[in-house]
Amino acid sequence: MKHDCTPLFRLVRLFALAAALSLAVAHADEYSDVSQMLRVGKLAEAQARVDRYLAAKPRDPQMRFMKGVIQRDTGRLADAIITFTRLTEDYPELPEPYNNLAVIHASLGQNEKARAALEMAIRTNPSYATAHENLGDVYAKLASQAYNKALQMDSTNAAAQPKLVLIRELFNPAVAGQRAAPAPSPTVQAAVTPPAKPPAPMPPAPAAAKPTVTATAQPAPASSATPAAAPKATATLQAAPADGPAREVEAAVRAWAKAWADKNMGGYLGAYGQDFAPPGQLSRSAWEQERRLRITGKSRISVNLLNLSVTINGNRAVAKFRQDYKADSLAVLSRKTLELVKTGNRWMIVKETSGT
């Protein structure tokens, strides 16, 4: 599975995930019940509740996380490692599973693995990674000043004042999603925040380590579940010169997902081009009718796109992503591929397939 590391996609995915977590209103009671049970130490009950829930919704990240916590608290460390590791694979943007993997590794004396996991936790948010590196640089500078005083060296010898890395945009899904998007200029692109490079080997930063396990949801925006329109100012780090078309395709895909979640049938069906081949030999009108029933029949829908990647070939595009679909009591996580064709000035879906 390809993890796309650009801020844009990470942002979208994180936002989507956070939204999904926050929007599980119907299931909020379940989560808080399990949290409460954990807090008062009723591990067996919590376990039962979690297992029952996951039997119906095996992919729910929050419950899976709690399962990992329970496994760890009941001493089933190997199982906990598997649970958290799988979460990091499915949701690599979440710091909490990495943190908890580190906690377990450290308790087993596997300090190098703990360090690696905590570094991954920090890297889930590029702002944290930048701050963490900057902190390391500042410590190094302070150390050299202290060493100078220890050796009573004249300080012209000292390490140069470190140039810390500036963060140029907020990594916050809610803020980024609502921000007005000025058109990108070449200079803005050049000034993009460098990717969070892996920090030099260092002991686990105390600030980032969270030894206590939190079973609460990731801080999520209270706004709607749907991903906002792609902020155009977010410069991507892809060297591909043709940013424009890729952005358009992304925008089209997101608009389609938003229409779906909003149950905006006009917008949803309108995203599919005339050449769209409905699955299973259905005629276009039959397919539309089925979609209409399926979509309007739900009281609540959330559609989150993760790891969205777009490749362009002339006026054809392929968009691949993981689709986290929740509707009422249904939750489906699937790989989706959309083929789009540019018709006029719009990208229209001509093929939609789900992979495993």
């Binding site: 640089d137 410590y139 150390a143 202290a146 060493y147 050796l151 010898n157 002991p203």
Partner: protein
């Protein structure tokens, strides 16, 4: 074990803050000027105690607390170089693995290797002295007998870079404080002027110098000792100006071997000593390595000497000059006078006594054993019926199984 000596250290450190300060009756006028407030705040031994606590926390993996304490320590003692080094290591550990004590990057290292090894040496010596504590109640083997006039005593152990301060109580000699010290660049066993060595032997503090009269290189004060003593002079040793003194303003403490022969302490520690000890009556034993013994076992071994001393006293009381003279060595010397030249003085004294028994008041004797086995004796020679008498010092040497006097004089 570590916890115990640390506990001892902390008790000692806090005990120092509580202990009543003995009146320095010697040259109290010189000390009457109030110490600047900043100096009063720096309790003796406190900086080291805090440093050791940082070591302990670091060793226990509690590096966050260690770092916080180190930050405070260098704030309070910015010129405590060893503390800065430890602080640097704790900071550096946040940015990279720290592989050795004082893990200074190469960019700083070139001119600093000597200083770095001195700081590591200082650290080792401090830890050594704190690990190798004297047994409870034991005293250095040199202190055979002290009088009530010797309210305090000092012993220096060069092998541990340590100075031990004792109070002489009714229950005997009690260790009240000990401090890290520096000795000569070339080590110990001073023999000649300019040899950069600290002398070894039994000495006494002879004065208390006004710090205002001194360069600030010497820190907050100086206590000269009587090197060369009689034994040193007899052996033809030269040089002078051996003091206990402090450190310059830009250095809290110095390397274990750093001085021109003086014994150097951090200023707060020196201040405590200056406030405490009396000039002339405070012995300072400087040894390559102190041997700690139970108080009474030392005394038991000096029986033969005590017998000799008693016999000498009786001989003097008896007025029999020839008998008396047998206690003196042929190479006897008293302030330049040979035995023959000194005998008339002896006769005068004997005549003044006129057969009255002589008491040795405020008797003290310290044993110094190196190539020779010697005794440094001090007493007030008071004849019965007199209220006072001269204060005398004698140096005895053991020849075979007999003790003989090679110096005697009024001090």
């Amino acid at each position: 074990m570590k916890k115990r000596f640390l506990a001892l250290l902390f008790v000692a450190a806090t005990g120092l803050l509580m202990a009543p300060v003995s009146a320095n009756t010697g040259n109290s006028e010189q000390n009457a000027d109030a110490l600047p407030a900043a100096r009063l705040l720096a309790a003796d031994g406190a900086a080291e105690a805090r440093l050791i606590e940082i070591y302990r926390l670091t060793g226990a993996g509690r590096t966050r607390e260690a770092l916080a304490k180190a930050a405070h320590l260098v704030r309070d003692y910015p010129n405590f170089q060893l503390a800065q080094l430890v602080y640097g290591d704790l900071l550096a550990a946040h940015a990279r693995p720290v592989r050795s004590f004082g893990d200074v990057p190469e960019s700083l290292a070139p001119g600093a290797t000597a200083t770095l090894s001195e700081l590591r040496f200082e650290s080792q010596m401090r830890l050594k002295a704190l690990r190798e504590r004297p047994p409870a109640g034991a005293i250095p083997s040199q202190f055979l007998a002290l009088s009530s006039r010797n309210k305090h005593a000092i012993a220096v152990d060069a092998s541990r870079s340590r100075l031990y301060l004792f109070e002489n109580t009714a229950q005997g000699l009690i260790l009240v404080a000990d401090y890290y010290i520096s000795v000569g660049k070339s080590g110990i066993e001073k023999a000649a002027e300019g040899d950069l060595r600290t002398p070894l032997g039994v000495y006494f503090i002879v004065s208390n110098l006004d710090p205002k009269s001194l360069s600030d290189f010497y820190g907050t004060g100086a206590l000269p000792i009587n090197y060369p003593n009689v034994l040193d002079s007899k052996r033809g040793k030269t040089g002078r100006g051996i003091w206990l003194h402090g450190t310059p303003p830009n250095q809290f403490s110095r390397a274990p071997q750093a001085t021109d022969g003086c014994v150097v302490l951090a200023n707060p520690d020196l201040d405590r000593i200056i406030r405490t000890v009396e000039v002339r009556t405070t012995p300072v034993v400087i040894s390559p390595r102190l041997e700690w013994v139970p108080p009474h076992s030392a005394r038991a071994q000096s029986k033969r000497f005590e017998d000799a001393l008693t016999a000498w006293r009786n001989a003097k009381s008896s007025g029999n000059i020839d008998h008396l003279l047998r206690f003196y060595t042929p190479d006897f010397n008293s302030f330049g006078k040979t035995l023959t030249e000194w005998v008339p003085d002896l006769r005068n004294e004997v005549d003044r006594v006129r057969g009255r028994p002589i008491q040795l008041k405020d008797l003290s004797y310290l044993r110094w054993t190196d190539a020779a086995d010697t005794m440094v004796v001090t007493f007030g020679e008071v004849a019965d019926g007199s209220l006072t008498g001269p204060t005398k010092r004698q140096y005895w040497v053991r020849q075979g199984s007999e003790w003989k006097i090679f110096f005697e004089g009024i001090i």
